[in-house]
Amino acid sequence: MAVRITGLGIISAIGLTVAENLFSLENSRSGIAPVKYLDSKNDFLVGEVKCSNAELLGYLNIKSQPVSRTSLLGLAAAREAWGRNRHTPELRTGFISATSVGGMDTTERFYKDYLDQNNPDYAVLRCHDSGNTTERIAAELGITGYINTLSTACSSGANAIMLGARLIEQGKLDRVLVGGTDALTNFTINGFRSLMIYDDQWCRPFDESRTGLNLGEGAAFLLLESDKSARISGNPTICCLSGWANAADAYHQTASSPEGTGATMAIQNAIEVSGLSALDISYVNAHGTGTKNNDLSESTAMINVFGDNIPDFSSTKPFTGHTLAAAGAIEAVFSALAIQKGLIFPNLNFNTPIAETGLVPITELQKDQPVVAVLSNSFGFGGNNSSLVFSVNR
């Protein structure tokens, strides 16, 4: 059975709404630029949402503080995806949000005040916990039923979507708002820099010269509904979520296996769950972070699954930066837009294929395409690999 997607919401470096994101994707406008909003000593290239916290508070009309930037971004996207839906006792509604940093942005400010003995506000520490991010958004939306927070590094967003789909499939929920949110923090930037996988130039996914990623921030949510829920809400179906899978590498605590073992299993199993064949996949929205390790491993996995018939593929991370727990959700929204608008998005900054695999991504926007099924990959640290399959509503 397929799960209906009836609402989309997104905020990222390339726009504050779905419409703005689509416009940037169609016009090859990257949101990656030197640090402007984050309190940082350096001018690293990052994909920041182009709003200060004060502007976000005003935009969202939030009065009650403290609140983390992660919550604010999540709320912006969740509100857009929820739209004008109403609460009704007829429909059991859930909310599942993924985050990797939670309220780390507020904690960093607290920590600075604490070290400087500058009257630190202990109340902000309440925002630190990942679950607080989710509960804050759920409270603003008035969702009180099933609420869950997932944190599995870079596959978090995809796993939140998968968990929501399974809860609908099992009849535990009628509809569920799923997605992820992560604000940019010094903690994550420095962490990725210490792993020496942060590119000081624009990230170049699937390019031989790639040397790392650029981090980004943002949030995206999707409203998933069962047939019953869609009938009651009357919401039109944008597309369906038809396949999902998660698989591990059993290779290393942090690195993906060069053979792409877990990635191959995740892709294969997700396509199998969807009931489609590999040949039905019109477009792959790749994880494509721009690190040596991921892109090689992912390319190998695509060759393992698709052989000589590699579908059109691209990484949209050169637009948004790698948004960690939000990435799977942001790219799920892009996948739904690809189907809805018949588009295949370009992989910016690509020049030379990876020597070992020779794969060439789509580098120019493709319009008026019959996009019937999209595979979206999200591969996390520790070989936590997830793949989702989106397809047209038939």
């Binding site: 210490s194 020496m196 290393h252 605590q253 942090t254 390790n293």
Partner: protein, 85 residues
């Protein structure tokens, strides 16, 4: 050179938190990054880069460059001799 190798082994054990290992457990030519040798991995390579800068003032900016240098204790010692001022 011999004392350099001895120091290196001590520093690796300390930097990588391999307290259970002794200097005598690491041979000069055992492959540091092989499962049959010392079994180090990409995360440890980063620690070795930190070690090179901290103890020998040598900056390795490209992790790829470290691959040949960090093959064995012998190659690390050679690399230090060549690059140390």
């Amino acid at each position: 050179m011999e004392s350099l190798k001895e120091d290196l082994k001590k520093q690796i054990i300390e930097q990588l938190n391999l307290e259970d290992l002794q200097v005598s457990d690491i041979d000069d030519d055992s492959l540091l990054f092989s499962a049959d040798g010392v079994g180090l991995d990409s995360i440890d390579a980063l620690e070795l880069i930190v070690l090179m800068e901290k103890f020998y003032g040598i900056q390795v900016t490209n992790p790829e460059e470290g691959k040949d240098a960090f093959l064995t204790i012998n190659t690390m010692a050679d690399y230090i001799e060549k690059n140390r001022n």
